[in-house]
């Protein structure tokens, strides 16, 4: 089997009801990169939840471009919400707190920063665009 590149697009408009659709699409797009399905799903859900709850876009329109090429995964996430750079504006979670004091805020962006090697935010016209890049370990590569 030859090395497989991935190049696909997901369009989301339905809010939380899109979550099963995201999972279903990723299991198809990434079927040769099984270990990436959960991390990519997580990054997309966290960003999409932020867009839904804080983006104030009506109607909300999210476009996600997913690419795997030369051992690199690239996720480009765009929404039409108000200008927001999650890389600097999201809360930082305190990971060491006790159960009683622990909060959830900021975990999504913490996951994204932990699971990718590069993150870049741009405001382009009326869109927020976040580009995430992850180098793939050799075990995550497609079978040859």
């Amino acid at each position: 089997m030859s090395h497989t590149n991935v190049d696909c697009t997901l369009t989301l408009t339905k809010g939380l009801n899109d979550l099963p659709y995201i999972a279903e699409q990723l299991s198809m797009f990434l079927k040769e990169y099984e270990s990436l399905i959960n991390p990519v799903n997580l990054m997309i859900e966290e960003l999409y939840s932020n867009s839904i709850y804080y983006g104030s876009a009506n109607p909300l329109n999210v476009n996600i471009h997913l690419k795997i090429n030369n051992g690199m995964l690239e996720v480009i996430y765009e929404d039409n919400g108000k200008p927001f750079n999650p890389l600097i504006e999201a809360d930082s979670p305190d990971l060491e707190q006790s159960i009683e004091d622990r909060q959830i805020g900021g975990l999504g962006i913490h996951f994204i920063k932990s699971m990718t090697d590069q993150q870049n935010y741009q405001r382009i016209n009326s869109l927020n665009q976040l580009t995430l890049v992850k180098k793939l370990a050799s075990t995550a590569h497609a079978k040859h």
């Binding site: 979550l19 966290e46 939840s49 979670p93 006790s98 159960i99 959830i104 996951f111």
Partner: protein, 111 residues
């Protein structure tokens, strides 16, 4: 997309979410568990052997449940997470905060 099995094993509540614990299903998990934790049933094992996926919204429902056990002077520990879920528990600090056991048997012995 999420089913929650609850069993009482020698006074310890074993709660097993099966499927995906995310922004869509976390409320189902909370509904299934909210009346189960009481003064008498305050020790919980969250068996994650059959959980395929968890997001921060899923973790929020786990945290709510853990806080409830604490309020009743009990404890919630985790058993058997698969690799993908375990990674999320590690990165979030939840694994360290709650305690993770490889199997339900080991978790039962810890009480």
């Amino acid at each position: 997309m999420l089913e929650t099995k609850i069993e009482n094993k020698e006074g310890i509540l074993v709660i097993a979410p099966i499927g995906r614990l995310d922004g869509l299903t976390s409320k189902d998990f909370l509904e299934a568990t909210e009346n189960e934790i009481t003064n008498e049933a305050n020790k919980v094992i969250l068996n994650l052997e059959n959980l395929d996926y968890i997001s921060s919204e899923g973790l929020r429902s786990v945290l709510t449940t853990a806080k409830k056990t604490k309020a009743f002077d009990g404890q919630l520990v985790i058993s058997g997470p698969r690799d993908g879920v375990k990674e999320v528990l590690d990165i979030s600090g939840f694994g360290q905060m709650l305690g993770v056991f490889a199997t339900e048997e080991e978790a039962l012995k810890s009480f």
